[in-house]
Amino acid sequence: MTDPQTEQLVRHDPTDVDLARGDDVGYAGPEDQPEHGAVEVLGLDVAAIRADFPILSRTVRDGRPLVYLDSGATSQRPVPVIDAEQEYVTGHHAAVHRGAHQLAEEATDFYEGARARVAEFIGAGRPEEVVFTKNATEALNLVAYSLGNASVQGGRGVHGSRFAVGPGDEILVTEMEHHANLVPWQELCRRTGATLRWFGVTDDFRLDLSGIHELVTPRTKVVAFTHQSNVLGTINPVPLLVEAAHRVGALTVLDACQSVPHAAVDVVALGVDFLAFSGHKMLGPSGVGVLYGRHELLEQMPPFLTGGSMIEQVFMDHSTYAAPPARFEAGVPMTSQAVGLGAAVDYLETVGMKAVADHEAELTGLALQGLSSLRGVRIIGPADTTDRGGAVSFVVDGVHAHDVGQILDDEGVAVRVGHHCAWPLHRRFGIAATVRASFALYNTPAEVDALVAAVAQAQRFFEVA
């Protein structure tokens, strides 16, 4: 992983004033804003970044400039990512790990090169710890199903002790999970007889750790939780949970969908056993995701999907399986998507994850400030940027989230409305639906202003303000 301190910080050109509301698109912190005409601002050059994302200059709904605040659902892609896919497809495509011809070799190099870049990006010790999947959902299911396979009577018994779960065992999750890190565990429990338990969420939108000693016990076999809530923005205390889990010998599974795209994530520093994220939320293509797994565990874990490419030897009545990561990549994998993800990682590294995180923290702070200045708007999540990322969900008293979203859309502001695949969390707060704005490195303070103005417009339209 690149040391954030040594990352190249892109110099902000103070003459780039068009996208921001002033010259302050550098991010040294809100109380530390440079004066007008300041010579140098550490941070990222958001105008230059925006120029790399062609879609951001289009208009929507009767010619309004697009204000894209839905990167938590999926991010947009920069030209280098699009070009990387194109270069691969037009010049080097073949089925990877198969065939003895030159194209197959080149394709394999592209694919494995992407794996190595992703591994380095997240601080994995070796590329084999990175398994490509369809998306984070598949990565999380991969772990849950592999554990399920290890738990089946008469299954590959040698793996039984480490990965098997059954009656009396517990799987621990949280009430703030995305359905992708909840339903697979419900299903694993249903299939094996294990019991699902969960951390609740406090009234101030943090994990309720008060019952941690009753929840994390020798019965706990898996602790699966999100790094950053895709609704609340809350960043969870990974080291504390990992330590508690490992003390009782439980495996840890971190849903890093909303953290890897937005800040430097180092799997070794975090100490997690498994970590999942999606390419399409980090400037990469859809159709590729990642499961990181500690090598020692992947080596012992039985496969999820089976078939071609994941075997060692096949006989009519049984088979043996390849070493990881191949064991977990059955069939011909997605290739141009993996290549695009490699390019997305390069792009993020060039900007620097520290600069990305600072920039997004600035936008988040402005959004929290701007939205809470509107009477009748309630933020569903921590009120300031401490241990909080850039998913900003809110409700508007008297106006349903869908209706707010409709007015925002009419103003060109693209947000997500609904329960954001975290229905139990919404139920916890007695809310059917929220509006969620979420940021990426290409968003500007002016776009935050557009959001706040559009919400005020929705209040006027529905006559609640």
């Binding site: 709904r61 349903h400 989230a401 869908h402 209706d403 409709q406 007015i407 009419d410 609904g418 059917a432």
Partner: protein, 158 residues
């Protein structure tokens, strides 16, 4: 599109003061429908009776719901159009309403059939909102067909 065309006054009126709202005790069937994408919900009850000519008549539709202005208003309009009407006519109205809101804006809707329901024509331009507009109507269709199935008196003649 102008938001005033989507959110016509009629829709906002129904939203602010929904008709026939609340669950009433007289019913043959009760259903619970949700819109899984946004979490909107409706619990809806239907009471049918054999009409004079043997055709079932919608005696009452009562409901409790949670949702956006489009889904709330549309359910309210639906009860206006269904209550007191022979079931086949109510279902024909439902057909026409569905045809209009799923048309991506190509079908205006027959005002003679739909009454206030034509105000929802603008919804058809927003595919994400079609499910909102249909939530209450689909619940009604489900509850009414269960009522027909479960009530031999109605099934025989309906």
């Amino acid at each position: 599109m102008q938001m005033e065309q989507l959110y016509q006054e009629i829709i906002l009126d129904h939203y602010r003061a929904p008709h026939h709202h609340g669950l009433r005790d007289r019913f043959q069937t009760e259903v619970h429908h949700v819109n899984p994408t946004c979490g909107d919900e409706v619990t809806l009850r239907v009471q049918l009776s054999p009409g004079a000519d043997g055709v079932p008549v919608v005696d009452d539709v009562s409901y409790d719901s949670l949702g956006c202005s489009i889904s709330q208003a549309s359910t309210s309009v639906m009860t206006d159009l269904a209550i007191g009407v022979p079931l086949p006519d109510a279902l024909a109205t439902l057909e026409e309403f569905t045809r209009m809101v799923t048309s991506r804006g190509t079908v205006e809707g027959d005002e003679d059939v739909l009454g206030d329901g034509v105000a929802f024509a603008g919804v058809a331009r927003y595919p994400a909102r079609v499910k909102c507009a249909l939530l209450g109507w689909m619940a009604f269709k489900d509850a009414a067909s269960q009522a027909v199935d479960r009530t031999p008196d109605l099934a025989a003649r309906g």
